[in-house]
Symmetry: C2
C-alpha cells in the first residue's frame, strides 16, 4: 500500500464546482427567521433592505441541493484553495496513538482563517447587484479582514465596525484591513444614531459585538447602494463554507480513507457547518455513518448548556429572530476568554441537526485548549488560532482514547486558522495568567430568562 | 496548450533530495573566512568552538556539488514544503503586462519566512553532534522564530538574544518563540560579559544586532554542549536555502517554462542565494543564461554602494573576517527602515558572483516598496513581508517595462515571507509617516574608512 502523503492538495480540476446545501437533505428543516415585530417568517422582500438579493435566495432555499459556484469566485478560490488536507503524522507519533489523524487547514491565506470562503461569495453577489459597498462588524477581526480582502478584489467599499476594545488592543488586525482599503471604525462611534446613544449613555465603553452589529446594519440600511453582511450563523454562510467539507471529502476519497469521527470548533457554526456538510449529507441519506462532534468553549456553551428557542441574533435586537441553541442574547462571555467563539447562539441548521441527535457537542476549558495548541504547534509546526485549538483538544482526546482501546479510528478535524494575531492570549497562557471561567447556572438562567416569547 | 495552474506544488516524490552547492561550479571561489588575529584562513579546528562540526565542513567545502539532505530534515520539510510556485495571474492582469510572472512563496509556515529551511538543518546537525542546545541572535525575529521551531522539533535548548528594542516593540514574535519553548533574552543583558559592559556604558540602550551576536557567541563558546548558529550570510546557509531554487527549477521545468529574469531581495543573501543557485549553476556551466537581479534597500545598499573587501561580520568584531560587499561593520541603517534587510555586508558567495558580473543589483526606496506591497496584497491576496516586497517592487517594474516593449518575458521572483508581524511598518505607510532615508556619501565614507586592513 502506498504511504499516504503528509499533505494532500486537490488539482484545480478536482476542486468542487458547486456548494452543497445541507438543508436539501434535512428531514426536519431549520426553523425560519422571524420578523421581530410580527413573529411571522421573514420574506425575501422584508430582508432586501439589509441583505443582497441573491444571498437572500440562498438564505431561504431549503430545497436546492447544489448551487454552482460562480466562475469569478472559483478564480478567487484559486489564490488560496484548495487548502491542504494534512495527515498529522507528527501528532500521531507524539501521542503514540494507533488512530489516523487528518486536519483540513484553512489558515493559509492572509485573513488567517476559513472566513474568506464566504466573504468572497458575499462580496461577489454585492458587486453583481451593482452595490457600492457593504458594512459589517468584527470582533476578533478575522471576519473583517476576510471581508476587506474580498471587497478589495471586487472594488467594493467596505465599512467595518470593530468593537472598540479590539480596535485598540488589536491594531495589527486593523492595519491589515486598512491595507486592503477598508475603513475601520471603532464601535460605538458617532457615525450612527445607536452609536451616539451608546456613547452618551456609557461614555468610555469598550463596545460590544451587539452594538457593532447594530451600527453596521444602521449604516447599510441608511446608505444608498449598501447592504449588511455577516460572517457566520446564517444559512448562506454555511452554504459557502461547504467548500471546506467538499474538498475534504474528495481528498479522503482519493486517499481511500473513510472518516470515523469529524470534529470542528463551533462559535456561530460557519466552520463546523461547512466541514461536516457532505458527511452529514451522507448520514441524512443513510449512505454512511459518522460521529460528528461540535466543540465549544466552556465559557460560552450554547449547544451543551443553552436552550433551543427563538432568540434575538444581536444584543441590539434589530435583526430577525432565529431559532437556535442559545444562551440568551444578553449573555456575555467572560472577557477573559481569548477565542473568537463568543457568540451567544448557534446556526439554526446545526441547532436542528443537534436537536435531532445527528451530532454530538462537548465543551472544553481554556487552559486545556492552549495546552493542546502549544503541543500541536510544536509537533505539527503550525501555530493555531485559539478557536481552532478547541477542535485540536478534542481530536487529541479522541486519539488518546484510541491509544487505550487500540482502535485505529480515522479522525478528521478542522484547523480553521492561525493564531498570529492572537499572541496576547498565548502570552497570558505562558505567564500563567489565563483562567478557566465557566458561567454558573445562575448566570445562564438570568440571560435565558430574557428570551423573547414566541407562540 | 494546457493553461498553467495558478499554483504548482511538487509531489513528495519530485522534491529535491540533495542541496546544491553553487561553489562547486564557481570558477572564482568565494574568499575564505579569515582569523581576525592572524588574518589567515580559518581552519575547521578554529571554527569548532563556535559552530557544529558538520556545518563547518559544509561551510568550507568549495568542491562537492551536492549534499544529500538527511531523512530527518526531509521529514520536517514535508510539514511546510514544497512551497508553491505561483503564477501571478492577478498581478499580470492588474499591470496589463504581456510578461509572465511567477513567484516562489516561502511564507506558508509559522516562522513566516524561508528561514526555516536552514534553521532545521542547523538544529539537526547540532542534535546529531549530541549538543544540548544552540544560541543565536535575532533582530526582526524571523530567524529566531524559525530556529525556535527547529529546536523544539529536535528537543534542543534554544537561547535567543533579541535586540532589546525589537523585544519590546515586537512582543508577538517573542511569544511565538516562547510557544516553541525558546528562552528569549533582551540584548544587551546581564547574562554575558559583553552585555554587562554595554549596560554599564550605555544604560537604557535599545541594543543592536552586533551586540546580540556577541552575546550569543559568548554564551555558546562558554557553555558546555552549545554552539552558535546564524541565519544568513554563511556559505552553509546558502547551501540549505538552495532547496528554494531547486524546487522552483523543477516546477518550471514541469510546466515547460524557462525563466528570463530572476529577482530576489538581498539582506545577507540567504534567500537570494538559495533561489538563484540552480539557475546560476546553469549559467556558470554555460548551459543557459538568465538575468539575475538582487534587490536591496536604498537605506542599506551593500552591493550597489558598498566596497568589496574583508570586513568584520559583527560590530563586536568577535567573528571571523569575511570578504564581501560591505558598508563597513560600523554602518547602522536608519532606524526608520522597516525591513529586515539591515545587514552591513553581503554573503561572500553572492559578493563574488556580483563582482564577476554574473548578476545585477539595484536598490529601492522604502515607500516605493510599500506601494508595491500593498498593490500585491490587494491583487494576489498575500500580505507580504517588507523584505520580500523589495523583490515585488522590481518584478513589477520589469513587468511594466515588458508592457512598454511588448516583450513576453518570464519573470520569477522570491516571495520570502508574510508581513503579519510587520503591521507597525504598514501602519506608518498608511499614515504617511514613512520616509525614504538614503545614506549620504559622507555616511558611507565614514563607515567604510574603518574597514580592517588586510594585506
Amino acid at each position: 500500500m502506498e504511504k499516504i502523503p503528509y499533505k494532500t492538495y486537490l488539482d484545480e480540476a478536482e476542486m468542487p464546482k458547486a456548494w452543497y446545501n445541507i438543508r436539501a437533505d434535512m428531514k426536519n428543516k431549520p426553523a425560519p427567521l422571524l420578523n421581530p415585530a410580527t413573529h411571522q417568517p421573514m420574506t425575501a422582500e422584508e430582508l432586501s433592505p439589509v441583505f443582497c438579493d441573491e444571498l437572500i435566495q440562498q438564505e431561504l432555499d431549503n430545497d436546492t441541493p447544489y448551487f454552482p459556484i460562480p466562475e469569478e469566485i472559483l478564480d478567487f478560490y484559486k489564490m488560496y484553495r484548495p487548502s491542504p488536507l494534512v495527515r498529522a503524522y507528527f501528532l500521531e507519533k507524539k501521542l503514540g496513538t494507533p488512530a489516523k489523524i487528518y486536519y483540513k487547514f484553512e489558515g493559509n491565506n492572509t485573513s488567517g482563517s476559513h472566513k474568506l470562503n464566504s466573504a468572497i461569495a458575499q462580496a461577489y453577489y454585492a458587486k453583481k447587484q451593482g452595490l457600492k459597498g457593504v458594512t459589517t462588524e468584527t470582533g476578533a477581526g478575522q471576519w473583517g479582514t476576510a471581508l476587506s480582502m474580498a471587497c478589495s478584489y471586487f472594488g467594493l467599499d467596505c465599512k467595518v465596525y470593530m468593537v472598540k476594545v479590539s480596535y485598540e488592543q488589536k491594531p495589527f488586525r486593523r492595519e491589515v484591513m486598512r491595507t486592503y482599503g477598508a475603513s475601520v471604525t471603532p464601535s460605538p462611534s458617532d457615525t450612527t444614531n445607536i452609536g451616539r446613544k451608546m456613547l452618551a449613555e456609557f461614555p468610555g465603553t469598550g463596545g460590544s459585538l451587539g452594538c457593532a452589529i447594530s451600527e453596521a446594519v444602521e449604516v447599510a440600511v441608511g446608505s444608498e447602494g449598501y447592504r449588511y453582511v455577516l460572517g457566520s450563523v446564517l444559512n448562506q454562510v454555511l452554504l459557502h463554507q461547504s467548500v471546506i467539507g467538499l474538498e475534504t471529502k474528495i481528498a479522503l476519497d482519493k486517499l481511500g480513507e473513510k472518516a470515523d469521527i469529524i470534529i470542528g470548533c463551533a462559535g456561530g457554526g460557519s466552520n463546523l457547518g461547512g466541514l461536516i456538510s457532505p458527511f452529514m449529507g451522507e448520514k441524512l441519506r443513510g449512505e454512511a455513518d459518522y460521529r460528528i462532534i461540535a466543540v465549544e468553549p466552556a465559557s460560552c456553551p450554547s449547544l451543551t448548556r443553552g436552550k433551543y428557542a427563538y432568540d434575538f441574533c444581536d444584543t441590539g435586537m434589530v435583526c430577525p429572530l432565529a431559532k437556535m441553541y442559545t444562551l440568551g442574547s444578553s449573555f456575555i462571555p467572560s472577557p477573559n476568554h481569548a477565542g473568537g467563539l463568543r457568540y451567544h447562539g448557534m446556526s439554526s441548521i446545526l441547532s436542528q441537526l443537534y436537536d435531532d441527535g445527528l451530532m454530538e457537542a462537548t465543551s472544553v476549558v481554556q487552559t486545556n485548549v492552549f495546552e493542546a495548541a502549544e503541543m500541536f504547534a510544536r509537533v505539527e509546526g503550525i501555530l493555531p488560532a485559539p478557536e481552532s485549538s478547541h477542535a485540536i483538544r478534542v481530536a487529541i482526546d479522541e486519539a488518546l482514547k484510541c491509544k487505550e482501546t487500540g482502535e485505529e479510528k480515522t479522525i478528521v478535524f478542522g484547523l480553521t486558522g492561525t493564531g498570529y494575531f492572537d499572541m496576547v492570549a498565548y502570552e497570558k497562557y505562558h505567564d500563567g495568567e489565563m483562567s478557566d471561567y465557566i458561567p454558573t447556572d445562575a448566570d445562564l438562567e438570568k440571560s435565558l430568562s430574557r428570551l423573547p416569547q414566541i407562540d
